[in-house]
Symmetry: C2
Subunit: 194 residues, 2 copies
C-alpha cells in the first residue's frame, strides 16, 4: 500500500468546478480548450473525451454555473424579509456590489450577449438564472406588500436596468432614475413632508 499519488479520477463532475473558476476569471467567449484544460489540470484531449466537443462543454458549464448561482442565492437568503420595497432594492444592490457578485456580473453580460446571439446553451442558462433570482426576490419582498409577485418582477426589471447602466458607466443615470421612481415616493410618503 504505497498510496503515493492517489489519482483523482477525473470526470465531468470533478472538472466543472475548476472550469467554472477559470471562466469566472477569464471570461466565457474567449475561452479555448487548452487554457481551460490547463486550469483543470488536464489536457484538451481529455476535455473532448469527457464532454464530446466544445459546444457540449460550454453547455454543461453554463448549466453548472446556473446551478451554483442558484445555491449561492439560496445561501444568501436570510429568514428576515425587507420592511419596504425600497429597503429590498437597496439590499439587493448592496449585495451586487460585493466583489464576487461583480465578477459574476461580468460573466452574466457575456451570457446575455450569447443568448441574444442564439449561441447554443446560453439562453437556457440565462433563463434559469433569472427565474431563480425572481423567485428569490419574491421571497425578499416585504411581508405586507400588496402585490409581492408583481412587485418582485417590477423590482427585478428596475434592478437589472440599474446593473446594466452601472456596468457601462452610467451608475449616476440609474441612481437619478431610482430617485425619481415610486420607490423614492414610497419613502417620501413615510418620511417628513415634502
Amino acid at each position: 500500500m504505497s498510496e503515493t499519488a492517489l489519482k483523482p479520477k477525473m470526470s465531468k463532475e470533478t472538472l466543472l468546478p475548476l472550469l467554472a473558476a477559470h471562466v469566472m476569471e477569464h471570461g466565457l467567449g474567449g475561452a479555448s480548450l487548452r487554457p481551460l484544460a490547463k486550469a483543470a489540470g488536464t489536457s484538451d484531449r481529455m476535455l473532448i473525451y469527457h464532454f464530446g466537443n466544445k459546444e457540449q462543454l460550454i453547455t454543461d458549464l453554463l448549466g453548472y454555473i446556473a446551478a451554483i448561482y442558484s445555491t449561492a442565492l439560496e445561501a444568501a437568503l436570510g429568514p428576515e424579509r425587507a420592511a419596504t420595497r425600497q429597503e429590498c432594492a437597496a439590499r439587493i444592490l448592496a449585495q451586487s456590489r460585493e466583489p464576487m457578485m461583480q465578477q459574476f456580473m461580468v460573466l452574466w453580460w457575456e451570457i446575455v450577449a450569447g443568448a441574444a446571439r442564439g449561441i447554443p446553451g446560453y439562453k437556457p442558462a440565462a433563463e434559469a438564472m433569472i427565474a431563480k433570482q425572481v423567485d428569490w426576490l419574491e421571497q425578499q419582498m416585504p411581508e405586507d406588500d400588496p402585490d409581492p409577485k408583481g412587485g418582485a418582477r417590477y423590482l427585478m426589471t428596475l434592478l437589472e436596468g440599474t446593473l446594466m447602466l452601472g456596468t457601462v458607466g452610467h451608475a449616476r443615470t440609474a441612481r437619478e432614475g431610482l430617485l425619481a421612481s415610486d420607490l423614492a415616493r414610497e419613502v417620501a410618503g413615510k418620511g417628513p413632508a415634502t
Copy 2:
C-alpha cells in the same frame, strides 16, 4: 477618358459603413480580419494598413456605430411628445421591437459584455450610446411631466431592464413587472375607478 472602373479610393470613412454592416449581421466578438475585409471589398492587409491594428479598428468601428446610432435616434425623433409616461414607454418598446432595432440589440449586449470585461473601446461606445438615448428619452417625455429629467432616467432604467429580460426569454416577467409599476398606477388613476 475611358473611366472604366473608377477606383473608389478607400479610406477609413468609406470602410467603416461596410464594416459596421458586417458586424451588425455577424457579431462583434467573433469578427476577424479576413471576413471583415471581404465584407468591405478589401484584404486584411489593407485593414491593418488603414487602422494600424485590429484593436484600433474595433475602437473606430464602435465609435462609428455609436455615431450612426445617434443619428438614427435623431431621425426617429418626431416633433410630437408623448402624452403620458406610460405612452412614452410604450412607444419606445414598440420601436425596439422593429427588426433593425432587434439587430441592434444583439450587438448592444455584446458591447455591454465587452464594456464589463474592460475590452478597450467598448465602454466609451456604450457610454455614448446610453447618454444619447437618455437625451432622446428626455425629449420624448410628456410636456406636463413634473420631473422630465428624473423621469427619463427612471424610464431608461426600467426600459433597459425590460429589454434585457426580453432577450433572455423573460419578456413575460418584464411585462408583469411593468404592469405592477407606478406607470400602470398612473394609467389606473386616469382610468375608471379601481
